[in-house]
């Protein structure tokens, strides 16, 4: 390879020329993240160190003579390994597990039945009778044997002894003060196991507790948000339904809830994996946090701030101004309407003068003249409009375009006057 010069956007690991800066960077990221030479060599270094610790120098030296080739070319030729045949062992595992669970359950239940008899109130308390009673319930084994479970015969693991010396299950049966149980290790193990099982069943793990709290907070917030939004909008509209203080305090409540959501989810995400629950659990916790963060982002963005006292005063001042203006306009409109009533009559007259006489004169060389069809029930203006419309229709049928044009202008004027009159009073 000496003398050979490669140049370009070369991958420092596989020596491929990737053509552009971006492609090179992408390739490096994607293809070699896991085989970073620096990391490999780092690990190699640690490995060598460890080897040196365990073996003597001679052996180490010997091992180093084994060929190691880190030539980039070798890596080029290696294609990513494909997934081979997959076999599911889940069913096998489940069967195995079930059998074991059944066995434990059976043993433990038998044990508990015997225990029940032993601590039964009806059991004789007189020492001599008591001993016989106990013997009838539990097969006794000799003291020295109890320390070693392997001495217990198969299927005969229920060796109890009630005694005053301390046993391994004090905590389970502490109700009777000084009297204790002595069991072999195996039974003790079974009982403790059951005890633990009950504990886990009855106790809520911290994260469950935190998660249900988190859900509660979210529900609280979802109830609180519309309330705050309504209040904010109302204030912005200048309404006086809510006071700024009450809106402020409702908003503050909501922010406190947001804060609790943030803190609680963070706490879940940063919980120490005390029970070594493993990767999936940690992943779930992080996902909970992520979801909470997204939720917060979504809901906090829509939450506008409340107007300040000054802004509120300004809003209300403007609202009052607006109101005054409207009153003034309405007054104005009323007076105008009165004038209009007179004026529209005038318009009507003008129109009548403008249109009707015209139609009378609208008799061309061929003697065409529009015919009038009016119903008397309509408002005079409407009547007029309808008359003109019928004239236009007729003129069109006759292709009298000059007349059509003139009549249409007339109609426009009329309609405008009519419309003005109708709408003015409602302004």
């Amino acid at each position: 390879m000496n003398g050979e010069v490669l140049e370009g956007f070369l991958c420092p690991i596989c020596l491929k020329d990737l053509g552009t800066i971006t492609q090179l960077q992408n390739h490096f990221e994607e293809a070699h993240k896991s085989e970073d030479v620096a990391v490999i060599q780092h690990l190699k270094g640690l490995f060598e160190k460890a080897k040196k610790k365990f073996l003597n120098e001679e052996i180490v030296k010997d091992n180093l003579q084994t060929p190691i080739n880190l030539s980039p070319k070798r890596i080029v030729n290696e294609k990513p390994q494909e997934i081979g045949r997959i076999t599911s062992h889940t069913t096998f595992f489940k069967n195995l597990r079930e059998k074991r669970i059944d066995a434990y359950a059976l043993e433990t239940n038998k044990l508990l039945l015997r225990l029940d008899k032993l601590i039964d109130d009806k059991a004789p308390m007189e020492p001599s009778k008591r001993k016989n009673y106990e013997k009838s319930v539990v097969p006794w084994t000799k003291d020295k044997k109890l320390t070693n479970p392997s001495f217990e015969p198969e299927g005969e693991m229920l060796g109890f002894r009630r005694s005053n010396s301390s046993g391994s299950l004090n905590s389970l049966f502490s109700s009777e003060g000084e009297s204790h149980l002595r069991t072999c290790q195996r039974c003790s193990h079974l009982l403790e196991r059951r005890h633990d099982q009950m504990e886990t069943r009855n106790s809520t793990p911290m994260e469950n507790f935190l998660y249900s709290r988190l859900c509660q907070y979210k529900m609280d917030a979802e109830r609180q948000i519309p309330q705050v939004l309504t209040m904010a909008q109302s204030l912005r509209d200048g309404d006086e339904t809510y006071s700024l203080q009450s809106a402020e305090s409702e908003r503050q409540k909501l922010i406190m809830i947001f804060d609790s959501i943030d803190k609680t989810s963070k706490r879940i995400a940063t919980m120490i994996d005390e029970q070594n629950a493993g990767q999936k659990t940690m992943q779930l916790r992080r996902a909970i946090r992520q979801a909470a963060a997204t939720w917060l982002q979504d809901n906090m963005l829509g939450l506008q701030s409340l107007p300040t006292r000054e802004e509120l005063d300004e809003i209300q001042r403007r609202k009052n101004l607006e109101l005054e203006k409207r009153i003034a306009i309405e007054k104005d409109a009323m007076t105008k309407k009165l004038e209009k009533d007179n004026a529209s009559k005038k318009v009507e007259i003008v129109v009548r003068k403008a249109s009707l006489p015209n139609t009378k004169n609208m008799q061309d060389e061929n003697g065409w003249k529009p015919e009038t069809q009016v119903s008397d029930n309509d408002d005079p203006m409407l009547q007029q409009i309808n008359i003109i419309k019928s004239y236009i229709k007729q003129a069109k049928q006759q292709c009298k375009w000059d007349e059509v044009h003139m009549l249409e202008e007339n109609l426009n004027q009329l309609e405008k006057a009519y419309w003005d009159e109708k709408t003015k009073p409602f302004i």
């Binding site: 420092p12 090179l24 060929p67």
Partner: protein, 209 residues
């Protein structure tokens, strides 16, 4: 000189170490020329500027050890700067080059040294090369200044000339001497060379199996 001694000795018990070396520095300070002089013994007055990076290898013999350099000659132009970390990561040695006739290139060299000290393998051997020392009549960077800087930062330092070949092989040899060659004990931070079984010379450094 080094490229004379590059041919492998017949003695099979010789130890071979392989090191990754990267050249950094402002554009046109003569990085490619230094490498070309070292690897091929050539010099081109008008060396074209490098695109991306160039990869070359050269072997030198040191006592009972054969040191194989895998040399990454990076492009000096600013637009390639973002690629540099890719090339210097995992490198056991670096030569930071400046041009003695250009003060700016010396400042740039200092920046590179700082970056290497921060980001490269902690035990990387860094050499500072003040190139173009044949142009001493145009000198802008005093040898003493660079020397002092190198001492402060524990760098190897030489003024070189790719054109006259002055100190070119020497700087690579100095680096080779400073690199740890006993594999196991040399600290695990990627700074140790990779010890290789001598492969059949005809296979030319490719796969051994």
């Amino acid at each position: 000189m080094a490229n004379r001694t590059a041919s492998r000795p017949a003695n099979g018990q010789n130890k071979i170490c392989q090191f990754k070396l990267v050249l950094l520095g402002e554009s046109a300070v003569g990085k490619s020329s230094l490498v070309l002089r070292f690897v091929k013994g050539q010099f081109h007055e008008f060396q074209e500027s490098t695109i991306g990076a160039a990869f070359l290898t050269q072997t030198v013999c040191l006592d009972d050890t054969t040191v194989k350099f895998e040399i990454w000659d990076t492009a000096g132009q600013e637009r390639y700067h973002s690629l540099a970390p890719m090339y210097y990561r995992g490198a056991q040695a670096a030569i930071v080059v400046y041009d003695i006739t250009n003060q700016d290139t010396f400042s740039r060299a200092k920046t590179w040294v700082k970056e290497l000290q921060r980001q490269a393998s902690p035990n990387i051997v860094i050499a500072l090369a003040g190139n173009k020392c044949d142009l001493s009549n145009k000198r802008m960077v005093e040898c003493e200044e660079a020397q002092a800087y190198a001492e402060e930062n524990s760098l190897l330092f030489m003024e070189t000339s790719a054109k006259t070949a002055m100190n070119v092989n020497d700087i690579f040899l100095a680096i080779a001497k400073k690199l740890p060659k006993n594999d196991g004990g040399s600290g695990g931070n990627g700074s140790s060379g990779v010890s290789l079984e001598r492969t059949d010379p005809s296979s030319g450094g490719g796969c051994c199996k």
